[in-house]
């Protein structure tokens, strides 16, 4: 689903790039707050893992196979901030080195496959784990998160296509085709994500970011029956500086950029819209087999673009920025327990956290 150059018009590309830049900036701060100087090596290796996992093809139906997007999986394993960075870097490297996804479409690709999959995946995961607890619930939540994240990404693609796609295909057709295929891929993604998370939970539960805070406290039992509850290691919550001004500024900037660019763009109808007006094909809507989704609506987008395109661009931007900001706040509010020991603490810390995390409430 790597979008190449020339697939979306300039306005959508630039707006998506602004959204992607704001999202990545927020996540850079968040990841550094959580991971400190471990950010680069850890996120880099997890990015390599995501890249490798994307090469795992799994059979979807007879004859066709899909591959993981990995956004939801990364979010559950390493947390949303690091996951967005992973996906962004994977897409950056694919664009730079492998010509997979156009350079001008990098923003679109990061928004679709990084931000949307991670934010929806993580949102669904938190929603489910808040309702139900335990290892089975974690697996179910992983399945649901991955299942939802893929069609969500496909539908966002459809939405962008509706705003600024360069091909005259009816939006209903695109939505049906993208949605249908990606629900199937989503099921595969969900299965693999659930089993993968389950495997990691079984071997190293302390590595699963989404299972933090679910670990039972370490209880020491003395020879005389005395029970001591060891409090969880204090969370690494070093940064006292609030991120809110930064978030607000980033959101505002994104809004301004997206709004301005959308309006600028809608003043110049793109090729499709011009063809739509020139050829006057609105009258032929009835002739076409797939004409149920009114062509007049499509012409409308070309005809009254100033309002529609601008407003939609701003609303999407707001939604994405808002979701990112909300996720950022949530992480700050919930102090994660069972943080991994730092490198200096070495094996002892590992033993303690492993022991504690093994007692995840089942």
């Amino acid at each position: 689903m790597h979008v190449p150059d020339g697939f979306f018009n300039a306005a959508v590309s630039v707006s998506a790039a602004a959204v992607a830049a704001a999202g990545v900036a927020v996540c850079l701060r968040g990841a550094r707050r959580e991971l400190d100087d471990r950010t680069a090596p850890m996120v880099g290796l997890v990015a390599a893992f995501v890249f490798a996992v994307q090469m795992l093809n799994f059979p979807v139906a007879a004859g066709t196979s899909g591959h993981l997007l990995g956004g939801a999986l990364a979010a559950i394993l390493v947390g949303p901030y690091a996951a967005v960075l992973c996906m962004a870097v994977v897409l950056l490297v694919q664009g730079f080195f492998f010509a997979d996804g156009g350079l001008t479409a990098l923003g679109v690709n990061i928004t679709l496959m990084g931000l949307v999959t991670v934010v929806t995946g993580w949102g669904v995961f938190r929603l489910v784990t808040r309702v139900a607890r335990g290892r089975a619930a974690l697996t179910a939540a992983s399945f649901a998160a991955a299942l939802v994240s893929v069609p969500a990404s496909a539908l966002t693609f459809t939405l962008l296509f509706w705003i600024g796609g360069t091909a005259p295909v009816e939006i209903g057709t695109v939505a049906a085709a993208m949605g249908g295929v990606h629900v199937l891929i989503g099921i595969g993604e969900g299965l693999i994500t659930a089993v993968t998370v389950g495997t990691v939970l079984a071997a190293r539960p302390d590595l699963v970011y989404g299972a933090r805070g679910l670990a039972a406290p370490l209880v020491l039992r003395g020879a005389d029956g005395e029970r001591t509850v060891v409090p969880a290691a204090p969370a690494r919550d070093a940064s006292p500086r609030p991120a809110r001004p930064f978030l607000l500024a980033g959101t505002a900037l994104t809004l301004v950029l997206a709004g301005a660019v959308s309006f600028f763009a809608s003043g110049n109808p793109d090729g499709l819209e011009r063809v739509a007006e020139d050829e006057g094909f609105i009258g032929q809507a009835g002739d076409h087999a797939l004409g149920s989704w009114s062509l007049a609506d499509y012409g409308e987008v070309g005809g009254v673009p100033v309002g529609v395109a601008g407003v939609i661009g701003v609303v999407i931007t707001l939604a994405v920025s808002g979701a990112v900001a909300y996720a950022a706040r949530r992480r700050r509010a919930a102090a994660p327990g069972g943080a991994r020991g730092t490198g200096e603490a070495g094996g002892a810390a590992d033993g303690v956290t492993d022991g504690a995390a093994d007692g995840i409430t089942a």
């Binding site: 150059d5 471990r38 680069a40 996120v43 992973c86 091909a167 005259p168």
Partner: protein
């Protein structure tokens, strides 16, 4: 997307294109891609000029056409989509060889094919003439956040290591008679992914410890200072410059 990734992407060489500082090349390719995307699809002459420009760069960099064509396999999914557009597209229909095709659909297919192909070819040439590490350093010179560049560097360095780990696990699976045929085999593949994650993460922790013991303090030391002279910028600027000239020329003709 897995098709193109196994090839070697970089072709070492010592041509003027190879010697250019990476930030110049990166900026030139980005500007070129922007020019291509901004070109109205009716201006065929401009697209022909862009293709000739890229051919000239490939010639100067001594990158054989076969290499570029093979690497362009990543474009295939969207080529399929572009070929489908005239059939499912809306608008006025024209009959071509007995098939009813959508006229706007044909235009859109041409638009996507031309622009995506030029963009991919430019990226392939960039990757072929620039070492991955240098490309990322060049991106850092162009004000990409240093942390992001560091992450990308770790990823680029460990890609082969992780992929090798995965390959060994696959060999082990297949040595035991496993072949993924249908949905029932998904759990096996997924457990491999889980094991791969644990191994990757633990390797990351070991690497971090090793880095700490060598004095890592959160940022990588800069060993080579990438500076570009005005002459080099000028040389790199000839690609987007010529593309812009072609665009303006086509505009004058149109």
């Amino acid at each position: 997307m897995s098709a193109g990734h196994r090839h070697r992407v970089h072709r070492p060489g010592d041509t003027p294109v190879h010697r250019l500082p990476p930030q110049c090349k990166l900026a030139a390719v980005a500007a070129f891609a922007l020019t291509v995307v901004a070109t109205p699809r009716e201006w065929f002459a401009a697209f022909a000029a862009y293709a000739l420009l890229l051919a000239g760069v490939a010639l100067a960099a001594r990158v054989p056409p076969g290499f570029v064509l093979r690497r362009m396999a990543v474009e295939v999914p969207f080529v399929v989509f572009a070929l489908a557009v005239p059939f499912i597209g809306t608008g006025e229909r024209v009959a071509v060889a007995g098939l009813s095709l959508s006229l706007p659909g044909l235009w859109a297919a041409w638009n996507i094919l031309a622009k995506a192909t030029l963009g991919v070819a430019a990226s392939v040439l960039l990757a072929a003439t620039t070492e991955p590490r240098m490309l990322l350093l060049g991106a850092q010179r162009l004000r990409l956040p240093p942390l992001l560049v560091q992450i990308a560097m770790f990823m680029a360095r460990y890609l082969d290591v992780i992929a090798g780990e995965m390959r060994r696990m696959r060999v082990a699976r297949e040595a035991r008679g496993f072949a993924a045929r249908d949905v029932r085999h998904v759990p096996v593949v997924a457990r491999s992914a889980g094991a791969l994650f644990i191994r990757s993460y633990e390797r990351g922790e070991r690497v971090h410890l090793a880095m700490l013991s060598r004095g890592y303090n959160g940022s990588m030391p800069v060993l080579s200072d990438l500076t570009a002279s005005a002459r080099q910028w000028l040389l790199a600027g000839t690609l987007p410059g010529a593309a812009l000239a072609a665009l303006l020329g086509a505009w004058a003709l149109a």
